[in-house]
Assembly symmetry: C2
Homo-oligomer: 160 residues x 2
Amino acid sequence: MKMKTGVEQSVYAVLLLNMLPEGAVLHSEEISRQIGASPTYFQKLLRKMGSAELITSVPGTKGGFKLKQPPEDIRVYDIYVAIEGHQSLYTPSGIFEGMLELDDEDDQCILGSLMDEAEDSWKSVLKRETIASLAEKLQAEQYSSRMDVLRKWLNEKMVV
Amino acid sequence: MKMKTGVEQSVYAVLLLNMLPEGAVLHSEEISRQIGASPTYFQKLLRKMGSAELITSVPGTKGGFKLKQPPEDIRVYDIYVAIEGHQSLYTPSGIFEGMLELDDEDDQCILGSLMDEAEDSWKSVLKRETIASLAEKLQAEQYSSRMDVLRKWLNEKMVV
DNA sequence: GTACTTTTACTCGGATACCGTCTGTCCGAGTAATTATGG
DNA sequence: CCATAATTACTCGGACAGACGGTATCCGAGTAAAAGTAC
């Protein structure tokens, strides 16, 4: 039971795209290079976020990716769902019904409600944080010089 | 990101062992048959719970498994840790440090605290429920007749 | 100089391979109760 | 009848095979900007 590394990578990718000025895009290869992920595979993740309407892709020369929604509307949870899918952590396998020989129509197993509550509790934390609130944390004093370097790099690599 | 099915199976196994009278044990094969799991593999899970001091094993003829702790002290979380291990759902892969070119000695990435909080929130729900509280839910009216069947089966299969 | 064609450089989506983990099986060894054996 | 040995029936722990999903790579197709070409 481990979260995909793709989720973390995607969050930082969105955080990177958030630094783009209006109208500019960034090549997928530049993004993956900055993230430190394999370019071809990370492109798939970017497309997943495109399907989830979190980011937009521009095809053709001078193409690339940029945010589709304002950073205040993109929650960490949205990125998680875009990459991992919306299946729950726990799905009852019917042991309860098997042991007690219940009809499948009966109420769910006694573990289901507990697990659902646990999962909701976990997701609620991820829903609380947005790209905007994360970006705000990057404005801290300790990161200022490094962020300038990053912004300069972005100005070189971004398109239009 | 999916919880192992072994966790659910183990919870029901402990719930089953909880129904044993004092001093009695149950063969691993009978347990796995009742759970509906593969006998040889489920024995490994039982041994994991044995290492976690949740249950006790009795070797030799008339051997088997029984609870080691009172049901009030066995939390669902304990079973989860026994089977899944105590690694966290998210471990920072160093993207943050890589992007900002920070020394590894600096504070953790901005996602770490959020993920830790989410995981703690999730675990707290699992720590709340115990085998005793789960067993109590099985005393509900709707299960009474089926539980009698289960208890009768247990009286036949249990040893000493 | 304008309209058209070709080239270039991206994204898109599928097919495929790799690899680690969970699941499942098998085996020899250890342990204790039962049974068999010898006196 | 009693003590000892052999058998039986469990657990223990490791080795190993199979299935599955996440990761990673490659390819042809689609798209749009740029460059080249013709008039």
